[in-house]
Amino acid sequence: MKRNGSEIPIQIADLQKSFGEQEVLKGISLQVKSGETVAVLGRSGGGKSVLLKLIIGLQTPDGGSIQVAGKEITKLDEPQLNEVRKRVGFLFRRVGLARALALDPEILLFDEPTAGLDPITAAEIGDLIVSLKRKRKMGAVVVTHDVHGANAYSDRMVLLHEGSIAAEGSFDDLQSSQDEFVKQFFSYSSR
């Protein structure tokens, strides 16, 4: 997979996922360009971690399509999925950072990397993400609750609400949004 802005490493179209009667994702469509860092925000239990697990193939969506590096994830068998996973680094709660970087992936998926960390260490994680983007042209999808931390390293933010994308854009775009949920989310995060 070439590392330039013309290729799209992750392309999600109309993604749906339910657990029993609980609909977690109701038709999410998202594109992550090569070398781009996207922060996925939202309430707890809003489907952010589920979105990452669907991208990496740990769970199977109920509908929609997920393409990573041009390959349809839902149609791959286990060996083919492992080949894709070697090109995508995944960190759960800071577990396996070294392992994920050792394979020199082309894109990293972070699941709440700064959860439970002090502000200094959280800032260091943010600096690491920025450094990876600059030096290794590595893109990232970061699931986080830390709005202001995400502002420091993300190129774009996506706010999930009740299984759908409530807002998408830069930090300034979301902060100036007139949507009630977006305004409430950003007002609480700045307290």
Binding site: K53, F92, R93, V95, G96, L103, D111
Partner: protein, 257 residues
């Protein structure tokens, strides 16, 4: 539980539920769910075993992790298994001695100890000790890894968790349990000899010889004036004094105190 007992149990459970206040027809879904749950459990177990076997026999192999698990399961359980086997041998020796003396079969004590430990007690005790210690530890370790999403992280890193976590532990148990059983048997027989020697000295060599061949010559000859020996025929049937020999016997021999 046989197949005839299972439906009877379900009907009894259903009827008792009806008698406690529920309507009988309301208990039918409960019985159906019970049957479905049982079949689902066996089905999940079968699928798990198939996936486990496939992960164990297909390359690449996790030899490093297998060795680490052999150390954790085998060598770390050695002391406990040896102590349990030793205790079994001592208890067996002390408790069976009195019974055998009562029937004049004290000479069979080594054979009783050796055969019961090797055939039954040793494997059972080893299995209980290892399943209690190792099984609980494996369950706790993998459970905490699942809760902290380490297994998901492993799978996301293109590492097969069944191959790395499950197959290595199962293979380590398969390899280590027979070896631990041998250790348990050894300690049980050795301590059985020690317990026996404390009351009636006997060399270890004679103890093992008598234990491995219970039909060999008696260790001591009974005094002629008090011949309370029990005779056994060539089919190892005990012939009590005064009883007529069976019609088809070919001979008999004495065993003494």
């Amino acid at each position: 539980m046989t197949m005839t007992h299972l439906p009877m149990f379900v009907l009894a459970a259903t009827a008792s539920g009806a008698m406690t206040g529920g309507r009988l027809l309301d208990q039918v879904p409960m019985a159906r769910n019970f049957f479905v749950g049982v079949f689902e459990w066996f089905g999940d177990l079968g699928l798990f075993c198939v996936r486990l076997i496939r992960a164990a026999i297909t390359p690449p192999y996790e030899f490093g992790e297998l060795l680490r698990q052999c150390d954790a399961i085998g060598s770390k359980s050695l002391t406990l298994v040896a102590l349990a086997g030793a205790a079994t041998g001592v208890v067996l020796s002390l408790q069976t001695r009195d019974s055998l003396v009562r029937f004049g079969a004290k000479a069979f004590l080594p054979a009783v100890i050796v055969f019961s430990i090797i055939k039954e007690s040793g494997p059972i005790i080893t299995g209980l000790i290892v399943s209690g210690r190792v099984g609980a530890g494996i369950g706790a370790e993998l459970g905490s890894m699942k809760v902290t999403e380490q297994i998901d992280a492993m799978e996301a890193s293109a590492v097969d968790p069944y191959k790395f976590l499950v197959a290595t532990r199962v293979m380590a148990c398969v390899l280590m349990l027979p070896l631990l059983t041998v250790v348990s048997n050894f300690c049980g027989i050795l301590m059985g000899w020690v317990a026996n020697t404390l009351s009636e000295p006997i060399s270890l060599r004679l103890f093992l010889k008598t234990g491995s061949r219970p039909w060999s010559s008696p260790t001591t000859s009974p005094p002629r004036s008090q011949d309370h020996s029990v005779r056994i025929d060539d089919w190892d049937r005990v012939l009590l004094p005064g009883n007529p020999h069976p019609r088809r016997h070919r001979g008999s021999r004495k065993i003494g105190h």
